[in-house]
Symmetry: C2
Subunit: 258 residues, 2 copies
């Protein structure tokens, strides 16, 4: 049992929780809580950590993971946890890896392209919603918040394990690839002329979603085939990015269900 916060493994865990650089260097991330750990694919599980109390309560159940869990005292576990009320279980998990082909190569793909999204909770919620809406994959500009941020991972509610995604070094190249595949590219834009629910999304569809405060960068927006807007009443100037993305994704889902 690990009893000290100065233990080397504990120090490494803290780095993985806090620094995207440490995560990328090791090619792993931290999934916390019994739900997230339970949904981790077996082949992706690298190491398992539990608190002393969790271990006592769930010793039998833990055998399903194959890997022998490392036990931390409750206070050391609280020290490495990213949450205020730790559940007592976390896993170090191998990062995912997808190709553009996996994201955009299916018939009539339904794709999100995220431009400089900054809020960890928003990004996680978008992944969670995208899975439910039948999205085939998510492309992210390199300057988006890290999908492996602990708060983002929690907000995905497990969708991070199932939704193909790819960070693009060159956003313009990524959009060009989609257009080349005859995928229609829509920019969600406050100045869009067409209402989002008047378009036909039955063929390959991609939505460009911009930053929470500033929207899409002009050079990204101008690459779209069509600008669409979400009609708004009252004095509302914009919608939360995850809400706007949800409305677009579920309009596709609604049309495709027929």
């Amino acid at each position: 049992m690990i009893t000290s916060t100065s233990n080397q493994k504990v120090k490494e865990l803290l780095q993985l929780q806090k620094k995207s650089r440490a995560r990328n260097q090791e090619g792993v991330f931290v999934a916390e809580g019994s739900r997230m750990v339970g949904e981790t694919p077996e082949k992706s599980l690298v190491r398992l950590y539990v608190s002393e109390t969790y271990y006592r309560k769930h010793e039998q159940e833990l055998k399903k993971y194959g890997a022998q869990p490392e036990v931390l005292t409750d206070s050391v576990f609280a020290h490495v946890s990213d949450t205020k009320s730790p559940q007592g279980i976390l896993a170090v998990v191998r990062q995912m890896s997808y190709t553009m082909e996996e994201i955009a190569g299916q018939k009539n793909p339904h794709i999100l392209v995220l431009d400089n999204l900054q809020d960890p909770g928003n990004l996680g919620t978008i992944f969670r919603t995208a899975e439910a809406a039948g999205v085939t994959g998510i492309l992210l500009s390199r300057d988006c918040v890290d999908i492996y941020n602990p708060k983002t991972i929690r907000s995905t509610m497990g969708a991070v394990y199932r939704m193909p995604f790819l960070y693009m070094d060159d956003m313009m190249e990524g959009i060009a690839y989609l257009k080349n595949k005859n995928i229609r590219v829509y920019a969600a834009h406050l100045e869009g002329k067409n209402s989002y629910d008047k378009e036909d999304y039955c063929c390959g569809t991609a939505f460009l979603i911009g930053n929470e405060g500033n929207g899409l960068r002009p050079e990204v927006a101008e690459k779209a085939d069509v600008w669409v807007r979400i009609p708004m009443e009252g004095q509302a100037e914009s919608l939360n990015a995850a809400v706007a993305a949800a409305l677009l994704m579920f309009e596709v889902s609604r049309q495709r269900r027929g």
Copy 2:
């Protein structure tokens, strides 16, 4: 200028930021940032506080508020601010007060009923989205998170000033009032038989939205006229509460726009 964190006004401000009890006792809340303060109706503004730096930069502009701002040193302002990077302006604002008649008395009202919602960001996002979707008012069970929580207020992006709302001591009585007005009451429920987009929302419509983790309480759900579900693909078990509410509200908006 207030230079000390032990100043009585500073202590009171901190209480208003942190404790719903202090807010309710005074009948006020704190709106922070130039956008939120700028959208505060003049009659609701009780006191204005700015940091020294903000005052120097915006002295002329501050005259529009009528009230003489109280200036705090930058470090005292940071002490009372609820944000990590304070903008340097906050207002103490009178709490709003609405009647059931204002929320449900219009022609074909469009109402949200929130049951035990707990996440401050979710509640604020729901207010922001509701304004954009043309919702006429929001009813909240008494055990919902406080709308005057500083994080909630920020997430509303000003909608809190424009969206009528009412905390109900008796949720069942509130729902009975709606039904008595011939408003059709829909429960957003994972076990709903009808898909949310197959209903007709052109007449008076109310949606019951449940707690983030547990959904609607059974005794609340059973009061609904119809249970509707949002069709989900993949292994997604549920949607974020603010996302689910957004999809329902904007389906009403879509149908009413025709």
